[in-house]
């Protein structure tokens, strides 16, 4: 049975290192001194060669952040974060473009190999001259290697279609009007503590603009990597899709193993105009800490999409298996008449991981629809919370929401929690919500075992079935990776 072989392979790989992608690349870095103050903000803006208005925008956000308090309502606990004890800027040192892969920093190539990036893409990423002309690949990658996009591939192909896909720092310089108009329009700097922090010190991220009527010719993808020691990563992603256009965006993450907790506070803003559609998929597999929960990533993310246009659609799909602490609520503001919001999520926690994740669906306009499917799996000593909001405002006539939250508990030392908020101010709006919590049934396990599956394989199979509704929403290449991840994440949780 191929699934079993695959699992066995995964287990064997795991036996070698407890975290497959836990490695650290040693390449030369340009690092800002530790600490956070107005000078840090100025330094980041200067290094990024940003225009004056951007610096002002950052400083304004920074001053707001100083006045704000870290939120406490999430069901997570961690030692207080010392915001002064981190580097806010790290950049690989620039060299002239290598002529072939042989000239590329071997450390960098090793990192790519571990990530499983194909050789040709590696050449593109490493900025090998002429690599782009060789062959067309269906996926465009914008690798965030620490805080700066080392290379952006396929930019030309996309440009022909009129699609802009570039690091946000380039967009600030090259498309200032678009950035000025949309940056912070979905997640204002004052939105929350971490959004304000991000607005002040974000170093990179992606910018996507799809003009009217254009169906983006390929799936856009970013590999986020956190590499240097003690650099918090503050990505900023802005995706604008105009009337009748559409895009599918993939975000995948792995991170090197390290001892100290690392803060990651990204902000993602999506904007969909009339009849536009955005599909945003995430596989998040950051270092979750060791078996005792030490050293994992803190992932405090603000993701929000605005369906501004009529009949627009924003769909979030996420598979969350990593991070020591996840605090993340991809949301949709349904302002356009007949717009659609979707949220499909699998969150897996093991050992000492904590996840507080969910979504918000804010229905502002008539005939808006939203669907929430959230699957939570807790194992080991972990805690996982679904926290969601469905709000029907007075103008949301005939709006609809369907929510399903299912939790699966594996082992008796973990916790699974469901905290949905349901608010309706329109009588014609209809909301349905259901949630269940259960363990893997003995019957299902027995059935699988009686057919010769090991307990671990059986659990893997059942868990994949439990998550199927979400996994089928992922693009192909992600779905395969996600299934593996689920199995890996739950290793050692049974038997």
């Amino acid at each position: 049975m191929p699934a079993v072989t695959e699992t066995r392979e995964t287990v064997e790989k795991l036996a070698k290192s407890s975290y497959e992608w836990g490695f650290e690349t040693d390449i030369e870095m340009d690092i800002a001194p530790k600490g956070l103050n107005e000078d840090t903000v100025r330094l980041i803006s200067e290094r990024k060669r940003e225009p004056e208005w951007m610096l002002e925008w950052r400083l304004k956000a920074f001053r707001m952040w100083l006045e704000m308090k870290e939120p406490e309502w999430a069901k997570v606990s961690h030692p207080p974060i010392d915001y002064q004890d981190a580097h806010y800027f790290a950049q690989p040192k620039k060299k002239p473009g290598p002529k072939s892969l042989d000239e590329v920093d071997p450390e960098l190539l090793k990192t790519y190999a571990k990530l499983g990036i194909p050789l040709h893409e590696q050449a593109l990423l490493a900025g090998v001259e002429g690599a782009e002309d060789q062959k067309r690949l269906p996926v465009a990658v914008d690798a965030v290697f620490d805080s700066v996009s080392v290379a952006t591939t396929f930019r030309k192909t996309l440009e022909e279609a009129g699609v802009i896909f570039c690091p946000i720092s380039d967009a600030i310089r090259e498309h200032p009007d678009l950035v000025k108009q949309y940056l912070g329009s979905v997640v204002p700097a004052a939105d929350n503590f971490f959004a304000a922090l991000n607005s002040a010190v974000f170093t990179d991220g992606s910018f996507v603009f799809v003009p009217k009527g254009v169906r983006c010719p390929m799936e856009l993808s970013t590999y986020f990597r956190i590499n240097a020691r003690n650099t918090g990563q503050f990505e900023r992603t802005l995706i604008i899709v105009e009337d009748g256009a559409s895009v599918s965006y993939l975000e995948g993450c792995t991170a090197p193993q390290r001892d100290e907790n690392q803060l990651h506070a990204a902000v993602v803003e999506l904007i969909a105009m009339d009849d536009a559609s955005i599909k945003y998929s995430t596989v998040q597999n950051w270092y979750p800490g060791d078996d005792e929960g030490r050293g994992g990533i803190y992932n405090f993310v603000t993701k929000r999409g605005a369906c501004r246009g009529a009949r627009s659609k924003i769909s979030w799909t996420q598979v969350e298996t990593g991070s020591a602490i996840t605090w993340k609520y991809p949301s949709c503001v349904l302002a356009g008449e007949g717009s659609v919001g979707e949220f499909y999520s699998v969150a897996v926690t093991n050992n000492h991981q904590q996840a507080d994740t969910g979504t918000k669906m804010i229905h502002l306009a008539p005939n808006t629809r939203s669907t929430i499917i959230a699957k939570t799996i807790s194992a080991g000593r972990s805690d996982s919370t679904y926290r969601g909001l469905v709000r029907m405002q007075p103008k949301a006539r005939n709006a609809r929401n369907f929510t399903q939250c299912d939790s699966l508990l594996i082992g008796d030392q973990c916790g699974a929690h469901t905290v949905p908020y349901i608010e309706s101010r329109n009588m014609t709006a209809r909301i349905e919500h259901e949630a269940t919590t259960s363990k893997i049934s003995e019957d299902q396990l027995f059935y699988c075992r009686s057919r010769g599956l090991s307990e671990e394989d059986a659990v893997g199979l059942i868990v994949n079935g439990f998550c199927r509704e979400v996994l089928k929403e992922l693009p192909m290449e992600f779905a395969v990776e996600a299934q593996k991840l689920l199995q890996v994440s739950l290793e050692g949780s049974v038997g």
Binding site: A416, T428, I431, H433, A435, T437
Partner: protein, 397 residues
Amino acid sequence: MSTGTAVQSSPALSAFVGRAAGHGSVLAERGIPTRRVEAWRYTPLRAFTETVWNEASALSDHDVQSLLDALALPEAESRAVFANGQEAASQTRLSENLVRSQGEAVDPLEDRFSAILNAALRQDGLSIRVPAGVAAGTLVLVSLTSGNAISTHLRHQIVLEDGASLTVFDVNAGDGRYVTNPRFDIVVGKGAQLNHVKLQREGANAGHLALVYASVDANGNYDSFTLNQGSELARHEVVATLTQAHAQVHVNGIQIVDGTRLNDLTSMIHHAAPDCGSRQTVKTVLSESGQGVFQGKILVDRVAQKTDGYQMNQALLLSEKAQINSKPELEIYADDVKCSHGATVGALDDEQLFYLRSRGVPEAEARIILVQAFLLDALDLVTDETLRDVLIRSITA
């Protein structure tokens, strides 16, 4: 999770603290919660903070009698009447199966405002005990309030010894602009059965902040049903703990909210032992500018394996201005459990209306039929037929 400690200074708070004299320190420190406090985000107490709520003066026998007559209460084995926070001795008669006792302190629940307020200003309510194995029939417990700018803070205690049974019909009514803040401490012994049926029909300008703490022993059953139908602002709050195996708790209710009123049913069902079950069905019907709140939490401890928890919460909105806020919550630390909750919000089904009208039922009548049908399966949960009829009369009146 943060419970928040939004302290306010307000005329109401100063008056309460003044009346509490020596034992109001927690109240003074915590203050009256604002909407920033998670537990009160949907139920603003602001309207009550500007009034100085005084101690209520006794009502005359005549006033008590006329208030009672208006209620048309069912006949029962026992009856206890409280008027403006005082026991109306002439109206109270208890069967020999109910033994008066001294109220003992149970869990202070100091994270809950209704409990803090009651602890600071507590007045003696009814403290009784049903001896082991005794079936004590029905007790009608009436709280009447009449007057303006007054508040009462009764504290009742009901202890059912092992194998005992009792039905309590808890009636709250009155007229004027007042606040009632009753607290119940309920102990259900091994194999004992307590049915707690509550009718909250306080005056349309009143505030009602009730808190019930119930602890249920092995094989015991606390079966409660609340009809929230009065007050400008009312919260019925239940904290129930299943302390030993095979205990059962039911926290059911119906809320009928019209005008600009707000009714709130908040509950926390705590499974602290294995093999227990809890059931909750709450239905809310909202018309005019009524606001409904449901906050139901099921907490399952690590030891509470084989828990079977179920919660259903449905709201029917009959007007453009009505509003429902609902927060069903599961917090689960045991793996071998079966817990689920469901929630629906919507208007009357157009197709159902059309079906009835196509069969000659006038629209207004068709609406009433559909609303009644919506409430029916919740009302069926009231096992005592006499009391169910009283509640149905209250709903249809």
